[in-house]
């Protein structure tokens, strides 16, 4: 067992390496995989239908299951429950060290988890981006040249799956974990150990997914449609298991954040004073808690189809491919709002600060987010308009899909109203937030084409769809992520990011993002299907331009990386406590944020947007004398 919280940075190196940490987790995870694979092999012996194929899916799934247990044991997730069973006293944060080491082990400090998320999902975001660069290399020519068809389709699947899995927690992972307790005046999330678990499941899912490469890849893209998934080779097991892990992680994250926002707000923080980012996290959490379990269920049936020869999705065995499509998109469409809603929250949080005005139409913004949350569960069959679904249902799903643009439109009105007669300063976070509105506008309006059935018959399954969702996810979520990064990283990491590099990053990314993805609308219109490695020769010119622009877009990410390394490792200029003169509660605490966040639980006086209000009180009284500290 590791020592108690008295340990410091002066411990010898071997003590830092030996113990419950990432390294042990990896070793036990790999060991667990081989043990599980062996046990699975023993189970499958003698069952013809399990051995009728050239690989043993039972062994693989058992391997991944035991590997997960080993990974969690190595990180120390079982120490606390086992210790409690053995009669040890309950304790919080019982082995959290200072220094860099705590980022590589189980830590229940929400600020550490936030940073872990930032770098964890960041690494996978870069791997996913690299996959996209490799795909664009193949698409330089209309015939197969750089990668074989199997490798190309694996790249497509890895890019899509990794991006969807990681970007689901792209904003709620780093920023909600770190900032939400600060914004609501709490000292932690409701369930700190579950918080740590949600993070440590995320890199596990990424590693399991990448193990597909060693198993021959998978050919289903990120959607994993059955029965193609049932036919696919062993890499498919990695895809399915990784999605199960991330589904569990997202569910737990959603429940945890929901419980936190509902129960742990500081005194005085009424629902109408809640920062809009917290509302966005709240609505995202509802979606995560309700939609992700459906994905896990769909994937478990896929496991059964592959490993135990059941027939949930197999027509010849009495199942139906539609079952998978419906379950998947019942998760899949709320999922795209899991990606979009945090972006809404970020930009509406940033606009008032740099327009120096209160958020315009606060209630409308809240209504917009909750409206999107509700409607997002009612639109999923628009992914199936040409699938052979009941044709008389199509007008209904066309209607609900178009209805969702009403609450989305609220967010744009909030943006326009907040800018109106403001004192606008073009800081880097503001530039990214404004770019979000531009990109998401194009993304949203192009979605109307896809919701209209006659138009969707042309555009479904083509590059038009691909351009549409890259405009909403990359142009929306990723731009919002960078807005949040440049805005909050000084508070989170305590260092100033280089502004010149940041501006170069923004302009390169904004210009080349649009140059890359706008022509793809045309590619889809001209008739280029998604996920193909070979295409009509006449489209080569268009694709070559897109590839060239995409490489510059990829390069702009390297500028961000260089900025991060330069500012964090070399320059290390300490950040001010409140460099943006924001009125948000999270900016009123010292930088770096103390371990317990607040000396006393603050009492919230007003909204965090009281710009230009004569005699407005501070957002919160940080050291309330008379009010006793509540909470933990």
């Amino acid at each position: 067992m590791p020592v108690e919280a008295t340990a410091t940075d002066q411990r010898p190196l071997w003590q830092g390496v030996v113990g419950f940490n990432l390294l042990t987790g990896l070793l036990l995870g790999i060991g667990g995989f081989f043990l599980g694979a062996w046990i699975g092999g023993q189970i499958a012996v003698g069952h013809d239908y399990l051995l009728g194929t050239d690989q043993n899916d039972v062994g693989l799934f058992m391997g991944y299951l035991f590997g997960t247990i080993g990974w969690l044991a190595g990180l120390g997730f079982f120490n606390y429950p086992l210790g409690r069973m053995a009669g040890r006293p309950a304790s919080l944060r019982h082995h959290e060290f200072g220094g860099v080491g705590r980022y590589f082990r189980l830590c229940t400090d929400h600020k550490v988890v936030g940073i872990q998320y930032f770098f964890g999902v960041g690494i996978f975001f870069f791997i996913g981006g690299l996959n996209a660069m490799l795909m664009r290399t193949e698409l330089l020519r209309p015939t197969e040249h750089a990668w074989s068809a199997g490798n190309y389709i694996t790249l497509v699947g890895l890019h899509g799956t990794m991006m969807i899995m990681m970007t689901s927690a792209f904003i709620v992972g780093p920023f909600a974990n770190f900032l939400l307790p600060l914004m609501i005046g709490a000292r932690r999330l409701a369930f700190p150990r579950i918080e740590a678990l949600t993070f440590w499941l995320t890199p596990l899912a990424g590693l399991v997914l990448m193990s597909a490469i060693a198993r021959g890849g998978f050919a289903t893209g990120w959607t994993g449609y059955a029965p193609l998934a049932d036919e696919a080779r062993a890499g498919q097991d990695a895809y399915i298991y990784a999605f199960i892990i991330i589904g569990i992680s997202l569910t737990l994250l959603g429940v945890n954040l929901l419980a936190t926002v509902i129960t742990m707000r500081a005194p005085g923080l009424t629902w109408s004073r809640l920062p809009i980012f917290v509302w966005a996290v709240l609505s995202t959490s509802i979606l995560m808690a309700l939609a992700a379990p459906v994905l896990v269920a769909a994937m478990l049936m896929s496991v059964m189809d592959r490993a135990a020869n059941s027939g949930y999705y197999i027509a010849s065995q009495g199942g139906s491919p539609y079952l998978y499509e419906n379950l998947f998109w019942f998760f899949g469409h709320p999922e795209v709002y899991i990606l979009a809603l945090p972006g809404f929250g970020i930009v509406l949080e940033i606009l008032p600060v740099f327009a120096r005005k209160p958020l315009w139409g606060y209630r409308l913004a809240v209504a917009g987010m909750l409206g999107v949350t509700l409607l997002s569960f009612m639109v999923w069959q628009h992914h199936l308009f040409v699938s052979g679904m009941n044709s008389s249902l199509r007008p209904f799903y066309m209607f609900t899909t178009e209805l969702i643009s009403i609450p989305t439109g609220f967010i744009f009105l909030n943006g326009m109203g907040t800018l109106w007669r403001g004192r606008i300063r073009f800081t880097v976070p503001m530039l990214f937030a404004l770019a979000f509105f531009f990109n998401f506008l194009i993304g949203g309006l192009s979605g109307v084409f896809l919701s209209d059935v006659p138009s969707d018959v042309t555009t479904h399954g083509s590059y038009f769809v691909m351009a549409h969702f890259h405009y909403t996810i990359m142009g929306g979520l990723v731009f919002a992520f960078f807005a949040a990064t440049y805005y909050w990283l000084p508070k989170m990491l305590g260092v100033v990011l280089n502004e010149r590099l940041a501006r170069i990053h923004f302009w390169l990314m904004f210009i080349f993002f649009n140059l890359t993805f706008f022509p793809l609308f045309a590619a889809g219109f001209i008739g280029m299907p998604r996920r193909v490695s070979t295409y009509a020769p006449g489209l080569q010119g268009l694709n070559d331009f897109v590839s060239a622009f995409a490489f510059v877009l990829g390069f702009s990410m390297l500028i961000f990386l260089a900025n991060l390394v330069y500012s964090l490792v070399f320059a290390r200029i300490p950040a001010e406590e409140n460099p943006w003169q924001s009125k948000g509660l999270e900016w009123q605490v010292p930088t770096p944020v103390p371990v317990m966040n607040f000396e006393r639980i603050p009492v919230v006086n007003t909204t965090p947007y009281e710009y230009g209000v004569e005699g407005a009180p501070p957002v919160a009284t940080l050291a309330p004398g008379a009010v006793a500290a509540a909470g933990s």
Binding site: E231, R423, G527
Partner: protein, 285 residues
């Protein structure tokens, strides 16, 4: 242009409206008359024509909306930008009821109008718009009583076409007669594909065990491409074929040619069926 920004009560709203009106007046005719004829999927069939019209209407309607938001944002960014280093607060405006109500009504009416128009065209004019409607279609095109049936079979990674009413021959070429409703019965022999006849404006998923019906009424003769629009494994991009719309007489002679060429194989074919339930091929790729 925006010198009014410095005045005490500049008429920003009027300026924004004027800029938007001018840009809309320029762009909408350009969209309808210049871009419109190039929008997909063309006018080869009644269904494609309906889709092209839908695409033109949507582009012409949505572009002014795009302009509206872009103009308001751009104007605000220019007119309300803060110069100098001093951080100064703006007026504490928290909302404006009439503006919010107007926006709500405006977006609501637009959206409901779009949905009503979309449903009307889908059911009444486009009659299913060439999309797959499943085994019991509800939107039947005019003249479907005299339709010709073609079964489209997807399999990794090839399309085959079976003509059950013309002597039940099977071929890897697709041809259909002009000015007659064709009823595609799309199904799959292995996994899910999607039959996409681009120029015809037809897209229908080929799902194993499902008879997915789509209609098309060709209006002109000519060539079109057939692709797969649903990821179906390694050679998804290779499910590429050229099809033909022919005159009735050309079509009949083509059909008899094909039938003769297929005569040696026709007794190997399984009996014609709306669906086929092949056993799954595990780990085929």
């Amino acid at each position: 242009m925006i010198t009014v920004a410095g005045q005490r009560l500049p008429r920003h709203g009027v300026w924004m409206g004027a800029i938007w009106l001018v840009l809309t007046a320029i762009s909408v005719p350009l969209i309808v008359f210049v871009l419109g004829p190039h929008l997909p999927p063309g006018r080869m069939t009644a269904e494609a024509s309906d889709q092209t019209s839908a695409n033109i209407v949507l582009t012409a309607l949505l572009f002014p909306l795009l302009l509206l938001v872009v103009v308001v944002f751009s104007y605000s960014l220019v007119a309300f930008r803060q110069t100098g280093a001093a951080v100064e607060d703006g007026p504490p405006l928290r909302g404006h009821g009439p503006t919010q109500a107007t926006w709500l009504v405006f977006t609501g009416v637009t959206v409901i109008a779009l949905a009503v128009w979309g449903s009307y065209t889908l059911v009444q004019t486009a009659r299913g718009a060439g999309g797959g409607q499943g085994p019991s279609p509800t939107d039947l095109p005019k003249g479907h009583q005299t339709r010709m049936q073609i079964q489209v079979l997807g399999q990794q990674w090839e399309w085959t076409f079976r003509y059950p009413t013309l002597g039940d021959f099977e071929t890897r070429q697709l041809a259909l007669p002009v000015n007659r409703v064709t009823e595609f019965h799309v199904t799959s022999l292995d996994i899910t594909h999607s039959f996409w006849a681009y120029g015809l404006g037809v897209k229908a998923d080929a799902v194993p065990g499902v008879d997915n019906i789509a209609f098309v009424t060709p209006k002109r003769t000519g060539k079109f491409t057939v692709r797969c629009a649903e990821l179906c494994g390694l050679w998804h991009g290779h499910m590429y074929r050229t099809g033909y719309v022919m005159s009735q007489s050309d079509f009949m002679s083509w059909a008899s040619q094909q039938k003769a060429a297929d005569a040696a194989n026709v007794h190997d074919l399984p009996p014609y069926s709306r669906t086929y339930f092949p056993k799954p091929q595990h780990r085929a790729g």
